[in-house]
């Protein structure tokens, strides 16, 4: 497998400029002859679809929701980073680049990250021009806030709804192109498979979620912008519909899957309230600025928090990390809460929670100030838990939030299948083993607005057009396979619901491939997952019809793919015998319990190649060279 990233020559500052000049252009008159399929309409997909259409390409965009405006990017709260240096506090493109590589625990490509930091400034300009209502100061200039992992204020935000406003901006651009007839938008359509003809991605097979019709679509290139796979854990902060199917199908057609074990756990989510729990809700980690995290000192303490005297409380983050205290990075905070809950000191139902206490801040700053800062979050918490956080400490617990792994892409964002491009969370490229806060929105829009429109042009300029249509034997073959799969799912006609299998898989993934992993546990999961998969294909029950809107069938197809994907994740976690970023292997930690990287053996991207149904996938390595960022051990003591 060819894993040449194709990093351009020149100094890191010059690489992207040089590359843009070296790339071939498509004659404006010829652009409309090229068709591009874009799957997904989140920040990456919508921005790519509108930008490509503006350039003159023929674009078709697909999404599973009833409208492109509903993609899960919409739920991002915190903000978007950009190296504008509007605060005059010493920020620069180089500093954003450096922070991102370091925050990713040195498992990302320098050249890609540098480009991301470069275009970050254009993103803010673009969004403001579209009318995105970022927060402003009284003088009318844009406001910024600071965010975890950075010592400068470079985060732009729109109240607690930055993702919503950015997505609606991209959606408005996309809508304009739809109105002009330059983008054909197909909502309520799910990609079931990828069509590869003569080694090139040439189309997709979709299921119309309203009529159940299975259709083929061909184009000159295919772009996947289908988001992350956090729902492999069943419970995550992802939307219920978020799934791995598009990228997993592409993997099975020959695209390499990179670093699937790199998942991010967010420390401040609302704990599970019972068996009925369907998803988890995140609360901005800005809460840790004023809240103190604690659990009772002794295990199985069932007293109400107010009844536990000060000297019987363990403010464990302040104790273990005196200099950073409650503001340690996400992964460190998450593992520490798991540790205290493992000791039986967790609080709330199921004992899977820790207190986040605002009493001291309310005493110090007054309730008004706390209300000003966090009232929307406090309201949300109260709505969900029916507890008043002004009077009783919040209960929080970590939850799966983002996946850094994804399809392998080169510098042009092209996967190992020619003509298949992957953007946004669906690819693996920029965040290494850990993503910094406010960087997901930045990457989605960077890929869609400012990177892909150039690099795909270079591909198309070199692409020889033919008259491929949906009658081609290779297209028909994939369509038949996709149709068969739907029939097979229906044919099982067992006794258990799809959700029951999804929950079982999720629990296995969380227990053995979650916040902390070890060799034994991963080996166990690798035995257990095929068993669940086998049981699924023998005993799953789907009611209703396939030629109809059928939400059980939709879920079944996605869970079937999660049941395969989960195994690859565990395999990747097992082979990576080091701890880095979101991947914490218990065997590899410092005496103080911190993640211990092994740069000699693992400073590389692990890219997995599908080898066939009954065969083990093949692991390839793309080595990472660090010329600019100095590799150090993180310390937050």
């Amino acid at each position: 497998m060819d894993l040449d990233a194709g990093i351009p020559s020149g100094s890191i500052e010059q690489k992207w400029d040089n590359h843009r000049f070296d790339m071939k252009l498509v004659n404006p008159a010829n652009k409309r002859k090229f068709s591009v399929i874009i799957v997904g309409s989140g920040l990456a997909g919508a921005s790519a679809a509108s930008s490509m259409a503006e350039l003159g390409y023929k674009v078709r965009c697909f999404c599973i929701q009833d409208s492109p405006r509903r993609a899960h990017s919409i739920a991002a709260q915190g903000g978007i980073n950009a190296a504008k240096n509007y605060r005059n506090d010493g920020d620069s493109i180089y500093r954003l680049f450096y922070d991102t590589v370091k925050g990713g625990d040195y498992r990302s490509r320098e050249a890609n990250v540098y480009r991301l930091a470069q275009v970050s400034v254009n993103i803010i300009d673009q969004c403001v021009a579209q009318g995105v209502p970022f927060a402003r100061e009284y003088g009318g200039m844009l406001d910024n806030r600071s965010f975890g992992g950075a010592q400068v204020s470079r985060t732009f935000y729109a109240r607690g709804q930055t993702g919503q406003q950015l997505l609606l901006g991209a959606y408005s651009s996309l809508s304009r192109q739809i109105g002009l007839g330059n983008v054909e938008m197909s909502p309520r359509q799910e990609m079931l498979d990828l069509v590869v003809v003569d080694g090139k991605a040439r189309g997709i097979i979709t299921r119309n979620l309203v009529t159940g019709e299975i259709e083929s679509h061909v184009a000159d290139a295919v772009v996947l912008a289908t988001g992350g796979y956090g729902n492999v854990f069943y419970l995550s902060t992802n939307a219920k519909g978020s799934n791995v199917t598009a990228i997993w199908r592409a993997y099975k057609r020959g695209a390499a899957m990179a670093n699937p074990c790199f998942t991010q756990i967010h420390p401040t989510c609302i704990p599970v309230s019972g068996e009925h729990q369907s998803k988890l809700t995140l609360m901005s980690e800005s809460l840790r600025n004023d809240g103190r995290i604690w659990v009772p000192k002794k295990a199985e303490d069932t007293r109400a928090p107010g009844q536990i005297p000060e000297d019987e409380r363990d403010y464990y983050l302040e104790r273990r990390y005196p200099s950073f205290g409650n503001l340690v990075p996400r992964d460190v905070a998450s593992r520490a809460s798991k540790a205290v809950c493992d000791e039986g000191r967790g609080v709330g139902p199921g004992k899977l929670g820790v207190y986040l206490d605002f009493a001291d801040s309310i005493d110090r700053l007054g309730r008004d100030m706390i209300e000003q800062r966090y009232s929307n979050l406090f309201d949300m918490y109260e709505r969900i838990t029916d507890e008043n956080p002004y009077e009783r400490p919040m209960r929080i617990f970590p939850a799966v939030h983002y996946t850094m792994g994804g399809l392998w892409v080169d510098y042009n964002l092209m996967s190992s299948i020619k003509g298949l491009f992957v953007i946004g969370e669906a690819n693996f490229s920029d965040h290494g083993a850990n993503r910094l806060g406010a960087s997901a929105l930045m990457q989605g829009l960077a890929d869609g607005y400012f990177v892909l429109p150039y690099t795909i042009g270079n591909y198309l300029a070199n692409h020889e057009q033919d008259n491929l249509n949906t009658d081609h034997a290779d297209v028909k073959q994939v369509e038949v396979e996709a149709t068969d799969r739907v029939s097979r799912l229906f044919g099982v006609n067992g006794r258990r619901t799809v959700d029951s299998f999804h929950k079982e898989l999720g629990k296995t993934m969380w227990d053995y491939c979650g916040m902390a992993r070890n060799k034994e546990g991963l080996a166990h999961a690798l035995e257990k997952i095929p068993e669940i998969r086998e049981a699924f294909w023998k005993d799953v029950k789907i009611t209703g019809a396939s030629a109809d809107l059928n939400q059980s069938l939709e879920k079944a197809g996605r869970v079937a793919d999660f049941l395969e994907f989960g195994e690859l994740m565990c395999r990747d976690a097992l082979v990576r015998e080091e701890s880095c970023g979101g991947h914490f292997r218990e065997e590899y930690q410092t005496d103080e319990g911190e993640a211990l990287r092994n740069d000699d053996q693992f400073a590389h991207v692990a890219a997995w190649e599908y080898a066939g149904e009954e065969r083990e996938p093949v692991r390839h390595e793309e080595s990472l060279d660090f010329e600019h960022v100095h590799l150090t051990q993180r310390s937050y003591k």
Partner: protein, 248 residues
Amino acid sequence: MMHLTLHVWRQKNASDAGELVTYDAPDVSPDMSFLEMLDVVNESLIVKGEDPIAFDHDCREGICGSCGVIINGTAHGPRKATTACQLHMRSFKDGDAITIEPWRAHAFPVIKDLVVDRSALDRIIASGGYISAPTGTAPDANATPIPKTTADKVFDAAACIGCGACVAACPNGAAMLFTSAKVAHLNMLPQGSAERYPRVKSMVETMDAEGFGNCTNYTECEAACPKEISVDFIAFMNRDYIKATIRG
């Protein structure tokens, strides 16, 4: 645990007449969200071999705008400023009977059960709900200062999640609140002023052509809106629309 009786609208497809079907929900926890309650009912239906109740949902955090049903006659249910996914069963009491229906509006045909077709809202946006700023043409983000008061007001309008509750709550099935929120968001901004009048004209015309009703000041839309968007924006839109028609 609470024991509830549900009367749920079941409709096979757009051409089916549809009817209310009664279901027993014996083990409802007050901590469940409304949609989790439906999940639990659906699990039991599937095990019995029946077709589960179809409903739209995705983020379950009250921001994507996918979910939305009429609960006991009220869009999104009894709790103010709350989407159905953020409504919790503690808002009900043991023994309650709950009637659950889809959005009912001429411009929102039912697809199945509680799922409706809201694509008319997308077409309103496509007819002018944007600022024509192609990628790459933007000046520096701070080139045009925008007073904080304006920015805050713009945000209030831009907070719309496009769920369609305003249309469902309106006796006329009007989409005035939805349309005006987008018109106001863009028309109040300096960036959006160049297209101000063509925008409002085109969006209002599309809204009418899609079969939405007109505004007769019931203000039910504002009461139902989970994001508390103000009907003041409707007045704003009407003013701009009149100016646009006078200008020709």
